[in-house]
């Protein structure tokens, strides 16, 4: 799909920007709002469905610039409806980088509904595995050590994460070069596997500004106030100390509940087990949740500890 490259010119009248992405939408839109100042920036998460997008579009009069991370098929549906109003589109990647949080996972039930954990949407693979394998809570807690992490590939998640990131940038309009300084391997730049920190969001926002507003964009680039919108209760997953060591940083094994309370590992395991017991009938078969490599690694760990 090709669209005319019409850039926002601050000196003239300009149309609003509509940001459509996942949970990364809000911080990007907020950053752009601050950078543009007088340009209207509207935002919606496509995860809410087409109806929500339409509701937001109704609030925009006339043409708009689209910043989107929608998948091609979804984008096509969107454009079939609104292509006459989209003046220019910047396709952005959704940042997904599990190298720092390889234990983190979503859990869906048999009806594909996302199940809650004690900290919100994020679950621990090791805890879910332990529950489904009928290990005791104590046995589960003991599995949180570097031998287990090594066996299940938690220390080897960097290269595949980088590869995936390169792929995602490759199918966007942004250049992977903006990630270079983050990919040096000596810093943790994600709050969870899909929640980039303020540094990444700012880099993305700056890159989007360059695409939309090349004339004079440099005045704004780098001046977007850094606010970590994707850091807070229910938004983060801990970087375990053994994994943080790889990046020369301090890790922790504290879990942040949506109500702001903190759980240590023992309590996170106990509360997860309680919730999984309630879900039991709706949980899927163990092979549906884990890759064969993960299952092999866990079996190796369990065999060694017997």
């Amino acid at each position: 799909m090709k669209y005319p490259k019409i850039f926002i010119n601050a000196s003239k009248r300009h149309e609003p920007v509509f940001v459509v992405s996942n949970c990364q939408t809000l911080p990007i839109a907020k950053g752009m709002e601050k950078a543009f100042g007088d340009i209207q920036v509207r935002q919606a998460s496509y995860l809410m469905g087409m109806q929500k997008l339409e509701t937001e579009i109704e609030k925009i009069s006339g043409d708009f610039y689209l910043v989107s991370s929608m998948q091609e098929s979804f984008l096509e549906i969107f454009l079939n409806k609104y292509s006459d109003r989209v003046r220019h589109i910047v396709r952005i990647p959704e940042i997904y980088f599990p190298a720092f949080h390889p234990d983190q996972t979503y859990v869906q039930d048999r009806q594909d509904l996302v199940l809650k954990s004690p900290i919100g949407d994020y679950h621990s693979k090791i805890i879910l595995f332990s529950f489904l394998q009928k290990l005791t809570e104590e046995e589960c807690i003991r599995l949180f050590n570097s031998k287990t992490f090594e066996n299940v590939g938690y220390f080897q998640a960097w290269e595949s994460s980088v590869k995936e990131l390169v792929r995602r940038f490759g199918s966007s309009d942004l250049d992977i070069e903006i990630m270079e300084k983050f990919l040096s391997g000596n810093q943790v730049f994600m709050n969870s596997f899909n929640h980039p920190n303020a540094g990444i969001i700012n880099a993305l926002t700056d890159a989007i500004l360059s695409k939309l507003h090349p004339e004079g964009a440099h005045d704004r680039i780098g001046q977007v106030p850094r606010h970590d919108y994707l850091y807070g209760p229910g938004l983060v997953y801990p970087v375990f100390p053994e994994i943080a060591d790889l990046f020369g940083e301090d890790g922790q094994i504290i879990f942040w509940k949506e109500n702001g309370h903190l759980l240590n590992l023992d309590n996170f395991v106990l509360e997860s087990y309680r919730m999984y017991t309630n879900y039991r009938q709706n949980l899927r078969d163990i092979t549906m949740y884990f890759t064969p490599e993960f299952l092999d690694g866990m079996r190796k760990t369990l065999n060694a500890s017997i």
Binding site: N145, K147, W158, V162, G185, N186, P241, L246, G248, A304
Partner: protein, 350 residues
Amino acid sequence: MHPYKKLDTHAFWKKVILGRPVGLVDPMMGMPSFKISKNDKVATMGSCFAQHVSALIKDLDLNFFVADSKSGTKQEGFGVFSGRYGNVYTVRQALALLKFMESPGEQHYENWEKNGVYFDSMRPNAIPGGFKSIADLEDDRDQLTQTLRNLLTEMDVLVYTLGLTEGWVSNKTGQIFPIAPGVVAGEYRAEEHIGFNDGYQEVKGQFIEFLDLVREINPNCKFIVTVSPVPLAATHSNQNVLVANQYSKSVLRVVAQEIALEYRETYYFPSYEIITSLAQPGKYFQPNLRDIYPRGVGHAMRIFKKHFIDATSSGIDDSKQSNNSTNRGFRDVNGKIQCDEEIIYNMESD
């Protein structure tokens, strides 16, 4: 076609340093090594950083060789190194130890006293609590000769960590001190106690002499040579401590390299690079820029284990190490290593 075309991955900065987690940088890639098996008696000697190797060997249930003829607690100095010789910072000191072993009566050794407790000036911090009497001290010192003899005769591998080029010597007796008289105990006499700072040729010559003496007794012993990444706490060289540190580490690093290249069954282990290089810009030093974070030690020990430990054929159960959460284990160790130099670091100058 050009000469770099055929080189292996490890030869290229971009391929092995750039864009990878600092903890996965492996400077042993492409370096010669051998595997220590479960039965090999592994001894350690050198500056306080060498204690981390002792801890790893013990942690992995390998054969950490303790050559002392009697046993005791860590507080009494047992098991920190392979004998109660304490931290050996300079190669001169190591050589002096072997000469003491060969002819203990030839050298006069100072006995240091502080608050009614006696310290062996050869190894003042090796027995942290000191001795109740000079007789006890001298009796224990006599036993050290047997310890050293056992060590040299029986060890299969010696991991030697080069620490400093600076030290102290008595111009009356020729005794080499691991730490200046007066710091731990004893009395500093300016006219007698002279600071030295060995250069490249001296250190290399001393090290060759040391290795030859070991090989005379134990021709099959293998050596793993490392350089301590811990900077000098203080220098007596009249130079800025940063400059003096760079000089000292440069000399030791060059000697380690050359010895490993020229001496048979001698291998260089790059703990110095793992901790101090640009590949982990300052990530491994604590705020005082001397102490090393456990994650840095953990990184060095992971690489050591990967290249020097034969985990598969020897039946080593390395889950033992991880059950105390691996690097968390090193966290504990880091807080417990015994360094004479710490005393100097914490002292104020007049």
